[in-house]
């Protein structure tokens, strides 16, 4: 038999090293690549469930009307009817789940009303805005306005 290559020993040793490295990589990836990786794309599909896991802190608005139907009725016909409950009252999923366990604080009208209604150049011109001192002279918004139906009486 004619030997085509001389000194093949070092090539074989190198090939053996590559094979060993490849084998170690295959074994390591078996343990280190998460289950299902690549099913939907280049990521771990369990991450979708992780992102779904937290419980919402803002309740579904429909759950408010279950108990507070008097407020729902009071809001009818007002421009505030489109403002959902938790826009002013904050996250209330815990309260909706157990009304006794979590009693929400009453919002502070002095800051809450002005968050939306303080005069700002950047606000749309048609949106009702006031300069608090000129408009009420420091009087609380609640002396004249009911937040659930803020249009003054008779208007």
């Amino acid at each position: 038999m004619v030997r085509r290559f001389r000194d093949t020993g070092h090539l074989l040793r190198l090939a053996g090293l590559f094979a060993l490295g490849g084998g170690l990589f295959a074994i390591a990836s078996l343990f280190m690549v998460p289950d299902g990786f690549g099913r939907y794309g280049h990521y771990r599909p369990g991450a979708l469930a992780d992102n779904r896991a937290p419980a919402p802190r803002y309740a579904d608005t429909a759950s408010c009307a279950g108990c507070h139907d008097d407020i729902v009725a009071a809001r009818q016909g007002s421009r505030h009817v489109q403002v959902r409950c938790q826009a002013c009252h904050g996250p209330l999923a815990a309260h909706a789940a157990d009304p006794a366990a979590d009693t929400p604080a009453r919002p502070d009208a002095a800051t809450l009303c002005l968050n939306c209604h303080r005069q700002l150049a950047a606000r749309p011109a048609a949106f009702p805005q006031i300069e608090p001192v000129d408009h009420a002279g420091g009087e609380s918004c609640l002396s004249c306005h009911n937040p659930h139906h803020p249009e003054p009486e008779g208007s």
């Binding site: 998460p34 289950d35 299902g36 990786f37 099913r39 939907y40 794309g41 280049h42 990521y43 771990r44 599909p45 369990g46 991450a47 979708l48 469930a49 992780d50 992102n51 779904r52 896991a53 937290p54 419980a55 919402p56 802190r57 803002y58 579904d60 608005t61 489109q82 403002v83 959902r84 938790q86 826009a87 002013c88 904050g90 996250p91 002005l114 968050n115 939306c116 303080r118 005069q119 700002l120 150049a121 950047a122 606000r123 749309p124 011109a125 949106f127």
Partner: protein, 254 residues
């Protein structure tokens, strides 16, 4: 059944090797089946957001709601959504003045009055949930990804905190959470929309300036909205296929 000692040892040996192997295979199959939530089919949704600049009053409700809903660090500079105020001089529209004190968390101070020399308006910002997202392309470990329903999400157990994605996002929508040292961003309230609820920012927006939309639902009002408004996305030149659509957006907005 007659079986000699040699056959028995062979059989027992095979069983000893194969049983754990089968258990491993079964465990892998079982683990791979829990990704879908009950009652929610990812393939039936393609989420987007519609923002109407002319309705935004800069109240900051979305910023506060987002932080409360998603446990975003309270300190300034960490936002999943924030509101910018633009002041665009009429004679120099390419150099708008933009401010966003604390992201709009406490609303905006009255800095200027309308004087006819400039336009003023608010621009709510959030992750654009790009269909071709640069942040997804640069992640070296597959920790950030486009979900099958069109939401860009983060796998916080895989993220290394290398910050490539923070730099890659053309919209500045990502930050490193100082508590976990991994990246955090808007998930489009993935935990809410997969339960059939809207996002916290849309839930609390008093004027309906921002609305969640499902582009795969033919009855979703977002289709009418997209047809009847003049709509733009931010930085279309980046070819990110952003899915946050802005109506009545000024060209000065970057």
């Amino acid at each position: 059944m007659d079986i000699d000692r040699r056959q028995f040892i062979l059989l027992a040996g095979k069983a000893l090797v194969l049983t754990p192997a089968a258990a491993v295979v079964l465990a892998r199959l079982a683990a791979g089946q829990a990704a879908e939530a009950p009652g929610y089919e990812m393939a039936r949704h393609w989420w987007a957001m519609a923002i109407d600049i002319e309705k935004c009053i800069g109240c900051g409700n979305c910023v506060r709601a987002c932080k409360a809903e998603n446990d975003v660090p309270r300190e300034p500079a960490y936002f999943r959504t924030w509101v910018e105020r633009y002041h665009v001089p009429v004679d120099d529209p390419e150099h708008p003045l933009v401010d966003s004190p604390d992201g709009g968390f406490d609303g905006f101070p009255a800095r200027r009055t309308a004087d006819g020399q400039a336009k003023d308006f608010f621009v709510p910002k959030l992750c654009n949930h790009c269909a071709q997202s640069p942040c997804v392309q640069v992640c070296p470990v597959g920790a950030t990804f486009d979900s099958p329903d069109g939401v860009v999400l983060v796998d916080k157990t895989r993220c290394l905190g290398c910050r490539y994605c923070v730099q890659a996002c053309p919209y500045g929508c990502r930050f490193i959470d100082p508590r976990t040292r991994v990246v955090d961003k808007c998930t489009l309230c993935y935990h809410r929309i997969t339960r059939g609820e809207t996002t916290a920012c849309c839930e609390t927006c008093p004027t309906g300036a921002r609305r969640l939309g499902d582009l795969k639902d033919p009855r979703d009002p977002i289709h009418d909205w997209l047809r009847t408004n003049m709509v733009q996305v931010l930085k279309p030149q980046m070819a990110t296929h952003a899915k946050v659509y802005y109506a009545n957006l000024d060209g000065a907005v970057r």
